[in-house]
Amino acid sequence: MINNRSLLVVGGLAAIAWLASNSLYVVDETQRAVKLRFGEVIEEDIQPGLHVKVPITQTIRTFDTRVLTLDTDPSRYLTLEQKAVIVDSYVQWQVINPTRYYEATSGDELQAVRLIQPRVDESLRNEFGRLNLQQIISEKRDDLMSGPTNDLNALMRDELGVAILDIRVKRIDLPQDVSSAVYDRMRSERERQAREWRAQGQEESERIRANADRRRSVLLAQARARSETLRGEGDAEAAAIFSEAYGKDEEFFSFWRSLDAYRQSFQGDGNMLVLDPSSDFFQYLKSPTQVDD
């Protein structure tokens, strides 16, 4: 009896628990939900909190309504001047209309991504085709993104119940072969710069050296001129002194200088004189008698 009664209690409690779990449901703050009756939506956009449903007949589908990041695969686009670029972008998107979203994708996020990605790809392709590389890289990035974002946003709201919050381009790279061309160009620019520096150095160096050499030549030439002048002055003074002195008696001067010259001429060994004993010098060699001049 007692056993039966307690079994009944336990069974009752279990039944209550089951009923509660099938008629109460919680929608998290990060989610929105739709209520379905046999697959038909009967309540839309259920807000977070504790809610009640009829068991068995009604089911609840919840969707993550946080901002989601879709990182697209890098793809190759052509710019206005037909240059190829490899572009990597990402999309921030969010479910804003759970009913629409459920209808379009049955709540499958992968399915949603499969629908969004080609659209993003296509609008970027169009956008890139309208601009040249310079514009894409530099000043146009904001414009580049805002157009497609707005268009896609409107479109996706209607089609998928999804808001496209942001499309951002990350990488814009050149293909491998073009990259190496860019490297070559950069290298050649640097080489040119390096050569310029070195040439400037040479030029400056030459200038300095030439200037130094010029100054040296000038200095030496001036010095030589000064030196010659001094020598000339010396010679002139000496000549003046001589002429002043020797002018007093020219005949005696030439006599005296000649004697001096003979003395100078016969300095050293190895001279031989062949003498005639009848010369004046030897007059007394023959006889000591007085001669008449």
Binding site: V27, R187, D280
Partner: protein, 406 residues
């Protein structure tokens, strides 16, 4: 689990799955206490049964037990269990929030509040608390190569330090805030670099680069509602890509080379000019020296001449004779002599030619100005003088030997 919570049908369920992690003390007590109690009660009942002579039989398992005929037992046991379960449930609602954390509380999934540090209580199973660290500075570093405005490629390393500023947004708005941050950082950086020339990025523009990336990135993050606040954003390094690194280094080397070449030239100039000045000074001094010595010599000779002249004017003939004899004796005294009496018409005369040729001309070349040689000094003297004057002297051995002697 949650739905079984009040159920007495599975007593262990509330204890094993009763609370979130975080208050094990209460749970431990729950796991240990009730079985002991159970055991004790069972033994007590069995004793009673035995005493009463009832069928002694152990039944395993849990669940509601038939009391041994005493309704008090049957009533108290489930009641006791419920009380204990409630106590455990309540106890497991306590938790500590650390100074560095905030808790985002969701009540039945709906946002309730953000709890601050301290001891907190929230009803378990009804409230869900998600902890976020808000003071730890997280960092993210990226190195990428990218295009610049002038279509060059640079490689930039950037690091961002960030904090969770708004825990509610961080937890609830964005599924993967870090991934969003990474993507946004990448995009913002490339955007700014794409609007700058390479040379600016590599040299002066780093700080500007950092600050503009910072403001741009923060605006992205705010628009996504990530709840992330950037603390600092550093451009760690900017470098040309590896394939052209050498060329860039070479530019730096070239600049050094330029400076070095110029320095060498300056050094050369600094060496040459003073040397030239010294040389110039030497030349001038030589000139000056020549001048002074020539003048001095002239003065000496003039005064000597003047002195002689004074004597000569007193007695010219004697003076001449004496000077002449002095000179000749000096000349003849140093020179080899051959006397030849040509007036006697001697038929034969042999000159000692070996002695004539062996000597060098001793004339030192300092021939005076326009000497008129005494005619009694013979041609040999003239020949020796001309050999010292004319470089076109055939007797080269003489010249060489003369050099050797002097």
């Amino acid at each position: 689990m949650a739905w079984n919570e009040p159920g007495g049908g599975n007593q262990h369920d509330p204890w094993s799955g009763g609370g979130r992690g975080g208050n094990d003390g209460g749970k431990g007590g729950g796991n240990q206490g009730p079985p002991d109690l159970d055991e004790a009660l069972k033994k007590f009942q069995d004793k009673l049964n035995n005493m009463l002579g009832g069928r002694g039989g152990k039944r395993g398992g849990t669940g509601g037990k038939g009391g041994g005929g005493k309704p008090r037992n049957a009533f108290t046991l489930p009641g006791l269990l419920i009380v204990v379960a409630l106590a455990i449930w309540a106890a497991s609602g306590f938790y500590l929030v650390d100074q560095s954390e905030r808790g985002v509380v969701l009540r039945f999934g709906k946002f309730q509040e953000v709890v601050t540090p301290g001891l907190q209580w929230n009803p378990p199973l009804i409230d869900d608390v998600r902890m976020v660290n808000v003071t730890r500075v997280r960092s993210l570093t990226q190195t990428q190569s990218m295009l610049t405005q002038d279509e060059n490629i640079v490689s930039v390393e950037i690091s961002a330090q960030y904090q969770v500023a708004d825990p509610r947004s961080y937890v609830l708005n964005v599924r993967n805030p870090e991934l969003s941050l990474e993507n946004a950082l990448d995009s913002a950086l490339r955007h700014v670099v794409g609007g700058t020339d390479m040379i600016d990025i590599l040299t002066s523009g780093r700080e500007i680069l950092g600050s503009s990336v910072n403001s741009r990135l923060q605006s992205y993050l705010d628009s996504y509602g990530t709840g992330i606040l950037l603390q600092t954003l550093n451009v760690e390094s900017t470098a040309p890509p590896d394939p052209v690194q050498d060329a860039f280094d070479d530019v730096i080397r070239a600049r050094e080379d330029r400076q070095r070449t110029i320095n060498q030239a300056l050094a050369y100039a600094n060496a040459v000019i003073p040397a030239a000045q010294g040389q110039a000074q030497r030349l001038v001094e030589q000139g000056q020296g020549y001048r002074e010595s020539v003048v001095a010599e002239a003065e000496g000779q003039a005064s000597r001449f003047n002195a002689l002249l004074t004597q000569y004017q007193d007695a010219p003939a004697i003076m001449r004779e004496r000077l002449y004899l002095d000179t000749m004796s000096e000349v003849y005294g140093e020179t080899a002599k051959v006397m030849v009496d040509v007036s006697e018409n001697s038929p034969l005369m042999v000159l000692p030619l070996d002695r004539l040729g062996s000597g060098t001309s001793g004339a030192s070349g300092q021939a005076g100005d326009d000497e008129s040689l005494d005619p009694r000094v013979l041609e040999r003297l003239g020949a020796s003088q001309s050999s010292s004057r004319n470089s076109s002297n055939s007797n080269s051995s003489n010249g060489i030997r003369r050099e050797g002697r002097q």
